[in-house]
Symmetry: C2
Subunit: 405 residues, 2 copies
């Protein structure tokens, strides 16, 4: 049984429901007789090493509920990716404050941090329960059917493409929408659920799990445009050639790299613009427009899946239950056990840490430019209730009086 003080933090990119997990854990912890204090670290692991803590025991339940319904990370986040030395610093601070349980809400980098901290505590013989709570719009955590945050971002992508499809049907042309996801194409693939009628877009969907060929892409756009007089394309920011080089890099003159040497793919409209330029130049199509969904897809206030909200809440709550009643550290994983129902399992930290899930082959169409029915069945229940629907006129044509002139 752990000591009576717990610490919670949030890492990585914010999502629409990461605060649900925070509040799920805080409220569950406050309900346990053995817990006296619930601390939150500001800006993830950075806040831990800086001892930048707030006392969440002093939040009202009402305000916690309002925060739960607010997107982004209410405690603040960080892009720091701790190495062993950094994790030793984290452990020192946890020890100094007498923390008995450590909860970190984040993606696969965050689960790796939890893993190292857990090992440091074991080495030091300090009784620390370490729990990872899953979160990522990329849906790229192994061992999970899906991850909290992804369904809401997917819903945004569906609503965006459904709207873009209507706009493009009204004013025909080519439209390219670039979606987040460096290695995993789940979020880009979600765009396919925007379709209702056979001629609805997106007509082409390109994910990073398949090699992107500019020539095939242009041929696909040309064929669709000739067939329908318009074409909507969903493209992952992470599309790359056979050698793995991002298309964004190839088409750009200058690129920005982060501390890890990764090319900056988000927060720039370059890829959409480059692909549009190629379509205008090579296919001589005049009306070509590109949008990069950017930060809107993960932060937009008021676009959320209720299924995602409830699961994120439960994931936080289950993490505390596993910590209080269980005997081991781990990562909370969502398993699908019905159509549609889920259960939560505690899986080993090293089963998740630092690993990246990508789209399974059966989810991607053989053409490489669409998804399968299996993907549609997979995603549909996650999008939640109250999904807005598009309708079109059904009126018959009127006979011409003047005829061709």
């Amino acid at each position: 049984m752990a000591t009576n003080k717990i610490l919670i933090a949030q890492g990585g990119g914010p999502t629409a429901v990461i605060n649900q997990s925070l509040v799920g854990a805080v409220l569950a912890a406050r309900g346990f007789r053995g817990i006296d204090l619930v601390y939150g670290a500001r800006h993830g692991v950075r806040g831990i090493v800086n001892e930048d803590f707030v006392d969440l025991t002093q939040e009202t339940s009402h305000n916690l509920e309002r925060v739960a319904a607010t997107p982004a990370s209410a405690l603040g986040s960080t892009r720091d990716k701790p190495d062993v030395k950094y994790c030793q610093e984290i452990f020192k601070v946890l020890q100094a404050h007498g923390i008995g349980q450590f909860f970190y809400i984040g993606g696969n980098d965050s689960s790796d941090t939890v893993r190292i901290v857990s090992e440091e505590a074991a080495k030091a013989g300090y009784p620390l329960r370490c729990m990872h709570i899953p979160k990522t719009i990329d849906n790229d955590l192994v061992g999970n059917d899906h991850t909290p945050g992804f369904p809401s971002a997917a819903r945004f992508v569906v609503q965006a493409f459904a709207g873009a499809n209507l706009d493009n049907a009204a004013l025909p042309g080519v439209y390219v929408g670039v979606v987040m996801g460096r290695h995993a194409g789940f979020l880009t693939a979600a765009s396919a659920l925007a379709r209702k009628h056979p001629d609805d877009g997106p007509h082409l969907v390109y994910v990073p799990e398949r090699t992107f060929s500019l020539d095939s892409f242009l041929a696909d756009v040309k064929a669709t445009h000739e067939r329908l007089g318009r074409c909507i394309v969903a493209v992952s920011e992470g599309i790359h050639d056979a050698s793995g080089e991002p298309i964004a890099t190839q088409l750009a003159k200058s690129v920005e790299r982060d501390a890890h040497g990764n090319v900056q793919l988000s927060g720039t409209g370059a890829l959409a613009d480059q692909l549009c330029d190629q379509i205008k130049e090579k296919l001589k199509i005049k009306r070509v427009r590109g949008d990069t969904f950017g930060y809107l897809q993960r932060s937009f206030l008021g676009c959320v899946s209720d299924v995602d909200q409830h699961e994120a809440r439960e994931a936080g709550e289950k993490a505390v239950q596993f910590a209080m009643w269980g005997e081991r550290d781990g990562s909370v994983a969502i398993k699908r056990c019905g159509d549609y129902a889920v259960r939560y399992e505690l899986i080993a930290l090293d089963a998740v840490a630092g690993k990246t899930r990508v789209m399974e082959d059966e989810l991607i169409a053989a053409s490489g430019s669409d998804v399968t029915d299996a993907f549609r069945r997979y995603l549909q229940p996650l999008l939640g209730t109250g999904m807005p629907e598009a309708a079109r006129l059904q009126a018959p044509a009127v006979a011409k009086v003047l005829g061709p002139r």
Copy 2:
């Protein structure tokens, strides 16, 4: 009294509520004893000259209601801007089909088309009632308190900046969001209503009604970033220097121009990227991200102001009432007559046609980089009910144990 056949069309950029106006007019017309047939032209004036009509009398009321709730132009739209010769063609087709009333839903270009067609009918002595129904997310029609379509687009911009503000507070840096509006800054200015707490973004708002200076912009961003450790900027796509040259053109190497010689400002992420590059280079700030809201802000399925929906519906309905019971052609205008209430007036076509409203001086702060309280009071009631709200944690800080190391 007009003949028993009416024609409706939609022009210009689609909006979230333009189908409300269409359905408002169709249902009102179908309820009048004197109307036998209600035709819709596909793709605006282009569909008229091509006799591309559908018979809206054969739509079910249920489907019309579903279409009303769907964004974009259900009949299709066009960017054609008819000259006198084109309008004579339009008139010939209306005459050939025995159309007694012509309704065109659109912006100031569309109202100019209605004006010319009205004049052609008068010259020919043909009894044609011509009505313009207002629509534009730019809110740039003179004679109107505001225009249908603008409130819903403004709501999208508010929700987008409210979310971007939360995301940026979690992972601090500079964020630049580029908003539509070539000449009128209303939609960009709407971003200011995303703020709740004094340190909330957007911290800077640049509209095309004021000359944009890159040096002042950089100084403003620097000052905000030093004060808050972060900075969110809302920028109109139409910002320009003292000579009127768009900033997008100045910073770009190559630009696209449309048939009218206008530089393409929408459908490209260039301006956001260029401003971000300037901030990185000149201010040496590392985390700088830009988003161009692009087509999402006018087409996103499921982001709409209910006030806007109701007014757009009424504008369509009033147009038919004015046509049936009135004796003159005109443009339906929304007038504010209470806090908050509106009434609809029929104003002369040449009072609206081809004219552009921009933000009044009292709506723009003296600094030139913010709006005034007058603007906030103006916009607030238009955003509609059920606006999602953001909340933040209120928890007190925990005393450090280790202290500075």
